[in-house]
Amino acid sequence: MDTPQKIPVSILTGFLGSGKTTLLNRILSEEHGKRIAVIENEYGEVGIDQALVIDADEEIFEMSNGCICCTVRGDLIRVLGNLMKRRDKFDYVLVETTGLADPGPVAQTFFMDDEIRAEFSLDGIVTLVDAAHIEQQLGRSKESTEQIAFADVLVLNKTDLVDGEALDRLEARLRDMNRMAQVMRSERANVSVDRVLNLGAFDLDQVLNRRPTFLEPEYPFEWTGVYTLDIGRHELSLADGPDPAMSLVVVSDQGTDDAALREGAEWCVRRYAEPADIARPGEMIPIGKHVNLQLDSPGRKSFFLEVDTQVRVGLYAQHTAEEFDFQLTNAKGTTIRQEVERTWVAQHEHDDEVGSIAIERAGDVDPDRLNAWLGELLRERGVDIFRMKGFVSLAGESRRFV
């Protein structure tokens, strides 16, 4: 049987006034060659044309199927069913939710009926965030938190209304709440259409293409440089940088290949968990210990490293060498260049009720055990989980599962 391609669907969500209708109009008016059917709960203030627009009343049903309890949108199943009869009229579907909607039932609808599953594929969830008001909204409404937690793309909109420092803080907060989402900034929802449609958010290759570090774990440090030191005293000098202090662990006998760097990184994670010794300018940096360099005085600051044998060391630093213009010199004043450097995905503080957890494991997964674990996790903690996303290599299966 000839099986036609599934129709991709994007869900557009965001709190009231975040700019959903503006983005929708931008998508519909841009030349992208797609014929888009729009399903929305309410007609926005701005008129929408050039598209098939279908009004849907929100009809939420709680269903309990097997181990999984979920809510689905009955209206959406009907609307999608009707759309299928006009399949030749469009090749993309956009579902716009109301500002107060929980995106969960909308997304779950695409997995709870086998006809919908066979005809449509959920491409991604795009959440608009009003940069000027989201902080208040997050404190007051569960829905705005859920909209952020569910997103594949977070568009931080109305950035012209907020200063740069506040934006950086807000972006860091959003990233903590949802590590998997791409974050982009815009003023009047002016993001290009190809960054919000056809995301293939459930496609491993596309995800890795956009974010090569997606599968990398987070570390409490951002940078490592490997240097060979001769016997004697060395000076590490740092210029003014973005922080008044910086954590550092110096690892001795450091290898230069990726495996050695990862091994060093794992060892340093444990050192970073220990309380730091304070090191002031002019003081020694002990090897193998967590130190906190005090950098609050103006101008370049020097610290010292001493070794009694020639050794290769790894500096695992909270910030990159570039940010503080690291310079390492030997007793004769000769600059020592790093042999290898690499950056890591930096860890952030988690201060919201919602956060992300990543589990990484090499090798194949036993499908029965994975299913048993998922079943138990959903039974015990299902109500606490907004979304799970995984790239899984199942034992005995040549395809990759997303």
Binding site: C67, D113, L374, G375
Partner: protein, 102 residues
């Protein structure tokens, strides 16, 4: 199974047949939705594959019925039982004829 390696697309015709038969047998209005889902549950005592059929009507909690068999194996007698559980009295021959039309 939560992670399932078998393709789901193959059941599309069977899914439509179940939905169409129920719509016709119960004379369901347009504002009603029937969902059909193949599921597996890891609970002890559950069949490995279940077919869950639900009737979504506005303002009423959705009645559901689980058949302990795959979608492709659902027959007219199963549909009669679903109708009965949902409070409709439909005779098997009616469902047999609706179910065989295609």
């Amino acid at each position: 199974m939560l992670i399932n390696t078998s393709p789901r697309r193959a059941n599309l015709a069977s899914v439509r047949r179940i939905k169409d038969a129920l719509f016709a047998a119960l004379s369901l209005p347009d504002a009603t939705t029937v969902t059909v889902t193949k599921l597996a549950c890891l609970e002890e005592g559950c069949a490995p594959v279940e077919t869950v059929v639900a009737l979504l009507r506005p303002d009423v909690p959705p009645p559901q019925h689980k058949l302990h068999k795959p979608i492709d194996d659902v027959d007219a007698e199963d549909l009669r039982r679903i109708c009965q559980v949902w409070g409709y009295d439909v005779q098997t021959p009616t469902l047999v004829s609706l179910f065989q039309e295609d």
